[in-house]
Symmetry: C2
DNA sequence: CCTATTTTAGACTGTACAGTATGAAAGGAA
DNA sequence: TTCCTTTCATACTGTACAGTCTAAAATAGG
């Protein structure tokens, strides 16, 4: 009951497939392209991941868990909440303006699939929810500690920041200057100042 | 030097093709689909507009000029600038949460083409620029009139609001509740409060 | 009415691609 | 070594689609 062992690492292949989907989108990424990028032959891709859509769903979820962790970590750190928020805004400005930035796979997929694919939509909702929750918790903690005004609606502000990030990711896909992204973030920061 | 006159209205056809591109994206919209939606036969589409990409570029530009005019008008009206800004934010909240909202063709195209198609990118830049300018001028006017603090950087704030709109359009494509969109807008409005 | 010109209708071509089938290669287990 | 399972390599199939070709239909001008 043994056979030839797998000659590739499935996690590594998923990561590389994800990069292709990020750059090209689901529709434009061909199996040949994915095969070449992962170094895994066509047949093995189908055997390991199922069809193209199944591979995409795994890649999308993988993206959400790996690419948003820094943000959740920053917002979870034990320090004044404004420092955490600023760290995220800085992180965004850096990332979206970096040469070679290809956007956010969650945002890109929302555009490509809209609400036509329930599984895609569910994964996107999940990760958007994780981001909003991280902001919400951080802001609520800031209120408890008296760092932020009690009148602040943490849910609304969290939604606002998540929306900000999506806008930046969208603009970053086209290409955005570091300074412009930073200016936008600086303006946004003011919603917590009053 | 005469011939059979055109039996369709080219402007109407462009508008309908635009709707298809908005709902489906460039890649997924097939010529057959465009032909059916416009009521113009395949050959006439090619004759009138050139190839699929040329039709798309015209549709994209048409979108920018027709779908952003309300915003430019609102921001150009002679009244307190905060009223104008609120009108735009309300307009956005209404539009992006409306059932059947399919996103913004400029935003969708930025995702689909990124910076790979220079003509698409140029048209998107042009219309984004028009929106930013409308905000910038309105805010500058508000400063001159003493309605807004002189310390406000109208360029940065205009970029911020344009980014806000892009985020809302992105979320609207998936589907967003009116209330959530309005909450985000309400938070954003605060950047001009201080 | 005749002719030139343009639209219409549908068939056709070539290409790109997702997914499948088939047999060879490779390595663990007995 | 021998067998069995799994991967690898490549050929194949069917479909979808952009763009072209050909001929018929329609109409303004002479």
């Amino acid at each position: 009951m043994a056979g030839r062992p797998r000659t590739f690492d499935a996690g590594e292949a998923l990561e590389r497939a994800m990069v292709v989907f990020l750059a090209r989108g689901f529709e434009r990424a061909s199996i040949d392209e994915l095969s070449e990028a992962t170094g895994v032959v066509r047949q093995s891709l189908y055997h390991t991941f199922g069809d193209k859509r199944a591979l995409f769903l795994k890649a999308l979820d993988h993206y959400g868990y790996t690419r948003f962790q820094w943000l959740i970590d920053e917002l979870g750190r034990d320090r004044p909440v404004m420092e955490s928020i600023r760290a995220v805004l800085n992180g965004w400005a850096d990332r979206v303006s970096k040469s070679g930035f290809k956007g956010c796979l969650v945002c890109n997929s929302l555009i490509e699939f809209a609400d036509q694919d329930k599984d895609v939509a569910a994964i996107c909702d999940k990760h958007n929810g994780r981001i909003e929750k991280a902001f919400r918790d951080a802001i609520a903690r800031g209120k408890e500690r008296g760092e932020l005004a009690a009148s602040i609606d943490e849910r609304a502000v969290a939604e606002f920041f998540a929306n900000l990030g999506q806008g930046l990711a969208l603009q970053g896909r086209r290409g955005i200057q570091r300074q412009k992204a930073a200016e936008i973030c600086a303006v946004a920061e003011a919603v917590l100042a009053g």
